[in-house]
Amino acid sequence: MRVAVPVFPGSNCDHDALHASGVVMGWDTHPVWHQETRLPEGTDLVFIPGGFSYGDYLRCGAIAALSPIMGDIKRHAENGGLVFGVCNGFQILCEANLLPGALLRNESLRFIHQQVHIRVERADLPFTSAMKAGQVMQVPIAHAEGNFTLDASELLDLEARGGVAFRYCDATGQVGEAQTPNGAANGIAGIVNLRGNVLGMMPHPERAVEPEMGGVDGLGIFRSLARRAQCPVSK
């Protein structure tokens, strides 16, 4: 598995992504400076890390979405390649129109760092195939803008096509407003594009891949991706 981790000015979870992908999973992982115009040859997965690209100035992810490397990431996605955005990575994917919707300020207007539970809504994706639908994962969130928003009709469409990959829940899998830490519509924690090859999520599965981190539930996603790597995508 060859993984590219784009690094923007202000990315700060690039280390987390490189560690989870390169050290824990042992994948061939390359940081890619945002001013590059080409991903490494043979990239299977683009892992856009969290952080504060461009200081969150203008809007979270808005300036990074215009970085030179984004052109090749879009081409990679159009060719069916895998793109995975976490936290600021999710925000960038929305700003780049690779995913629908926007991440607004949390309802509390405060940054939130917490361990949360999320429920796997789709287990038929390259990102989730090693898990079961309805399975509950414990992973941390760390964001000030995670309040996923979409206008009413688009939200209906998203739900109808099964675009919701993860929803906030409690330890038993119960979802609802009380279980949603940031006010996100329908408790949405992560979504996937129509084709199923671009996924964005606010929680940090890459910070839950070793017991020392307090949990290993994030491995479910990486094991799914590993399974995918064994049966290469038909491009």
């Binding site: 000015p9 202000g10 700060n12 979870c13 280390h15 987390d16 560690h19 989870a20 824990v24 952080g51 504060f52 461009y54 200081g55 969150d56 100035y57 405060r110 940054f111 939130i112 760092h113 917490q114 941390p140 760390a142 000030a144 940090h204 890459e206 910070r207 891949v209 070793e210 017991p211 020392e212 981190m213 307090g214 949990g215 290993v216 539930d217 491995l219």
Partner: protein
Amino acid sequence: MSTLTEPVVNESLALKLGLSREEWQVALRLLGGRTPTYPELGIFSAMWSEHCSYKSSRIHLKNLPTEGPRVIQGPGENAGVVDIGDGWAVAFKMESHNHPSFIEPYQGAATGVGGILRDVFTMGARPLANLNSLRFGELDAPRMKGLVKGVAAGISGYGNCMGIAMLGGDVGFDACYNGNILVNAFTLGVLKTDKIFKGFASGLGNKMMYIGSKTGRDGIHGASMASAEFGEGSEEKRPMVQVGDPFTEKLLLEACLEIFETDWVIGIQDMGAAGLTSSSFEMASRAGTGLELRLDQVPMREEGMTPFELMLSESQERMLLVARPGCEDKIIAVLHKWGLDAVVVGEVTDSGRFIGTWHGEKVIDLPIQPLSDAAPKYDRPRARPTYLDEVNALPMPDDLGPDDVERTLRNLLAQPTIASKHWIFEQYDGTVRGNTLLPQGSGDAGLIRIKGTDKAVAVKSDCNSRFAFLDPFWGAAHAVAEACRNLSCVGAEPIGLSDCLNYGNPEKAENMWAFEQGCLGIRQACLALNAPIVSGNVSLYNDTEGVGIFPTPMIAAVGLIEDVALPVDVNAPDATALSQVGNRYCGSAFRAPFDGIFLLGETREELGGSEYLKLRTGKVFGACPELRLDDEFRLQACVREGIRMGLIRSAHDTSEGGLLTTVLESAFGGGMGCQLMLSKHALRMDSLLFGESASRIVVSVTGEGESALKSLCETHRVPLVKLGTTGGARVTVAVDGQPILDSDAAELKAIHANALEAALG
């Protein structure tokens, strides 16, 4: 261009800029009778301010023990450096940002974080952990809720953007901070012992480079502001508060670490208090050289700035470095890659003088070493305050009756100092970079692993200022003991400390006496616990309209676990079974039902300065609890060994709120209740439950572990008392067989969890 309109320099202007009459005379003598130029006067005022010169505190700071086998760099550099073995070291420091945070809480706290981060990464270290020690007034004091929210938001805004895990610190509330809050920020970074950078301007002809943000007009006189009392009109000082830009600092951090990988840098220092003035003077002073700077070439944020403003601006996110000859362009290229300015602004000379030119005209010509040597050093008058005899002797109220326990406990759990601080610390990213083994709230200290090694480093800051109010010597010693105890409670051995000494106006003899006693108390505890002070900061003039804070010698302690990592196979089929690792460290929460709860250490008749006493009487009084340092040393060694053996499953030291509060916090963390059967012996009921005797730790062990715990405590000569058993949905307490409490654990936990947010409104 060179026609500057500047004020006429004379004695009255010097006084206005904070120099005393005597200091003005010394300055004149130093210049051989010549009247200083306006920028020169600005330099005298900044360099000889309390904040930069430590003129009142220096003679007492020399009492602090600063040496030890692991110490690589003690006080005097940007941060202290301590060896953690195998070619690795940690750099760390704590610093105050009290005055700016009181005036403008968001920016004040944010730039406090930014400043201490630069102090650490300028040494060549990758910052991995932050702490913040915050002291606020009563929540119903004017502006206080806004100050709490603003400070938390400022720390969150800056620290999160930088991507440094915030591992806690501590937060306290007392009326003595109503007019002067404390914001003390700490950063720890990791580096290789052969890659330590220092603020050294050496090598005749080497280029001085300015890197980072452009210089603006913010923060001019910040150092002088921090060297005076607050009075009415302090709000007008808001323009002196610096404005932070964490995005630029993140770029500066990455750019610096990138050039530190090379051999292009001879010396580097951040521009903190007094900006370009203190960084250039200190770098040349350490190297015994001179400097010539072309001030007109300093990158400026706006037109029309003067040499005076450039020398004194405290604009953030700037560094001064000395380049190895021929490497200037390579340094510039790296800085440009990160979108930052990098300009050659001068050269190292052998004149021993600081020469500042402005479009070719000499506007500053000062001797560097003599200016530092002539910095005033005061042996200020000291006097034992008269209040001590009074507050130490006040009579205790009557003991609590059995029927009063539950109501008192519920009230205590809701006090801001005791209630959970999750509302604050959940605004901080505590797990970024994936190194955090114990985030805030899960252990007595924060704990991070050092990737690439088997090591883990623990950090914690503490100070119970009520103890220091009742006894400035022992209160300071308690701060050292408690910070180290908290490290031991996660299994780490203390290896070095940083101090941030927050006191009142040094021109008052009582404050100066308390300061001296504080230094001596720290000394005694450091020597007893083998923990040297390697860095620190002094903040005086913490007074508003003549009312000073309690002495608050904040201590940040750093501890080491040499071999924390256990081999783990993440590809094992059932990875969840692996989440019970870490038997070489432990948290504070009870782990499972039916474990035995034990108290290590002795409970004495000590209610002085307790949160309980303050709650009941509204006053801080009594005797400061006793601290027996040899008992403390053995207690800590005992708990560390118990954790290392895998015997002790949770450890939590008793502090504010006493024994019952401590046990309940462990129960809340574990999401369970407990059944306690206590014996009073000769103690009062309230001393037993809520007294704050020091050197005590509540631990839990499995049923099979009890006998091993007994023999461990015998070996270390540590008193051991069984308190009860974990588990169940209720908290029950019996004293000498008489039931005094039977409450729903979840309900008590909710009081503790929600009180602070409710009080903040």
